[in-house]
Symmetry: C2
Subunit: 408 residues, 2 copies
């Protein structure tokens, strides 16, 4: 195992998206929307429903073009929620959002329901002739469900889960392009940060700098708050950066991603500050091998035109490498997750994932780790694009996975 | 009406919180938690329940000390949710969060329920001897509700809404201190930004700079994505900053807030770039007067030891000023909202708010506006601390409200 002799540089990665890219993606979304709606409506008959209530903001964007920023759904009330009939798409909005809705979702009808969806429910359902409505039961609160039932007793609510999540798991080419662009923004940001890492700098200041580099380098936002964890803190699989300074002779773990035109990236790199210990190097090498074997096996399967593995299979491959080695316990979280408009979406790669073949084309993370509490932690995470029909798998994360020693 | 002749400067506002402040607030939370739990449990008998399931991350932090970052609840599963029995507080966590939970909530029992709360529900409820459990029905999904019912048919779920929201509406002194500190961080950030505002700079770059100034100036995070809207864009009460450049002779609206030790601020200022038009000045003056009258009247009522007004009363006062003037339509949103661990919380100040006296001590925003679509918009927002027993109202937002002309 050899350490990289020169550090990656920003210019090693693709440049930020241009205004032309953004326009092309907008246009691709507009062109794709009728197909997305047809796929959703194709489920209506089987469930004997005539309409669908979409409450997740990703679903509104996917189906109508209306965009809520991250966290904005906490204050937006029903604004941005979507009511899809057989022939019509209705964006719900209160007065704060009606102008924006008309601009971003020009093909939809905008309905100002104020802050009171139950008050409009009878009129809304009858306006599209619906007597049975599919509702995202995993995201509508129990209280709202009861109020809608009471507001229109003749309209039956049908609990559905995972319809759009399943649809969104297969990716259109322009969706994959945006995820790849978000990966490049993140890759470049970390490459730009490397020379600034040295012992004594705090986790928090590095995480903030990394965020700044993404947001001034082509990201419209971060995919999630970047994590930077020094030494023993890296044993927390979902830790937050604090005032701890970077430690020489120890690991430094970054978990972060960018958001480009609505689509997200997610990557983890574990660097070494100064001279790594032999134990830490061995942990790193094992995690790297676990990740590589899972990725190589899915590539071989796709290339051999065999049946796609399940998310459970892939998790077992990476986990098996660490368990067979036997020196340290394997990660207890899952191996990975789909990604797109949401950071975590279908498909799931874990011990609990469904034992059915992965969707295709799709994008997912592969992120095994080893965590030694109070001591150290290593995780390596890349996004993989898989297209079975094209016989293709591709790493969208381009940042090297070799041992990198910084700040020495 | 006179314009301010010198611009506010960063040094006009309180300095960022110190490590001593943070320790004092931590200690205050620790000391307050038994009282907060007692108040919650005080509702058990009236509702004939023996336990409470808290799913909002603000409630976990309030009752146990366990902190999830904004947006982290989207990927945290059940981690950070809280099960409160008569004698015990249980923090739910999966393996990614157990170490953090033990550290941040040392008085609580940590229960690793993985990703499957229904699978643990029977054991969890019986471990505290609960056969009727109050559940936050406005935040638990309908699907989870059904699964919990099925998992332990002998345990009855009782839908409750607003218990902790009502408790959190009255603020402890150390909570108000943190909101005030978050206000000062935001005030100072805007004062620092003023000299950089000039025609041609984009909304997005100013919003990003403002965020950066808060996050390097004492904020652990922003309270929400800062808004910067130029000219006609300011007519969107919840618009997002875009690539539009700042326009001379037009308004520039900033709506933003900081987060300090979990507590948030929220303020809006509408500035003028270069020379304001007479019409824009008149709109501004009217909004300012509407805001001032609402605040003055609540101060007079508190000072006179009269019954506190309702949020509906206060909204009517500010709205009445604009309607009596008659030149432009009043804001269609509410006059304001409580603030604390969440940006929007109880009490509500609006036409739809309950017609009951405001809680006390409490903190809320007062933010009237006038929006002329396609043309211009003005909103002014300050946070007000009200303590009826102390006969006191206080503006926590210190940034001046006089007409400010920048970039001229």
């Amino acid at each position: 195992m050899s350490a990289v002799t020169h550090l990656p540089e920003p210019a090693d990665f693709a440049p930020p998206p241009t205004a032309t890219d953004l326009d092309r993606w907008d246009e691709a979304d507009r062109a794709a929307r009728p197909g997305r709606l047809a796929r959703l409506r194709g489920r209506f008959e089987g469930a004997s429903v005539e309409a669908y209530l979409a409450v997740r903001s990703e679903h509104s964007r996917y189906l109508s073009g209306f965009v809520l920023g991250d966290g904005e759904d906490r204050v937006a009330g029903h604004s941005g929620q979507l009511f899809v009939g057989r022939d019509e798409v209705i964006v719900l909005a209160d007065s704060r959002y009606t102008i924006q809705a008309a601009r971003e979702a020009p093909e939809a009808r905008i309905e100002d329901v104020g802050y009171d969806l139950p008050g409009s429910w009878a009129a809304l359902t009858s306006s599209v002739g619906a007597t049975r409505v599919a509702v995202e039961a995993g995201f509508v609160s129990h209280a709202l469900w009861r109020k809608l039932e009471a507001a229109a007793p003749d309209v039956e609510l049908v609990a559905v889960e995972g319809w759009l999540e399943a649809d969104r798991a297969t990716k259109e080419p322009a969706e994959v392009e945006r995820i790849a662009a978000a990966c490049a923004v993140a890759d470049r940001a970390l490459a730009t940060l490397l020379p600034k890492i040295r012992p004594g700098v705090t986790e928090r200041s590095l995480a903030l700098e990394l965020e700044w580099l993404m947001r001034t380098g082509g990201a419209e936002a971060v995919a999630f708050d970047p994590t930077c964890l020094a030494g023993p803190q890296a044993a927390l699989p979902h830790g937050s950066p604090g005032e701890l300074p970077v430690l020489g002779g120890s690991v430094l773990l970054f978990d972060f991603g960018a958001k480009v035109a609505g689509y997200r990236s997610d990557m983890t790199r574990t660097l070494f500050v100064g001279e790594p210990s032999e134990r830490d190097l061995a942990v790193y090498e094992l995690v790297r091998r676990a990740q590589a074997e899972a990725i190589e096996q899915v590539a071989a399967i796709v290339d051999g035109e065999l049946d796609l593995p399940s998310g459970r299979d892939l998790d077992a491959i990476a986990r098996g490498v660490i368990e067979a080695d036997g020196r340290w316990p394997a990660y207890r979280h899952g191996l990975g997750h789909g990604i797109g408009l949401a950071t975590h979406e279908a498909p799931s790669l874990s011990r609990l994932a469904p034992d059915t073949p992965l969707p295709s084309p799709t994008v997912f993370s592969v992120e095994p780790g080893i965590y030694l509490e109070g001591d150290t932690g290593v995780r390596i995470e890349d996004l993989i694009f898989l297209d079975a029909d094209a016989g293709k798998t591709e790493r969208l994360t381009q940042f090297p996975r070799e041992v990198l020693s910084v700040g020495g």
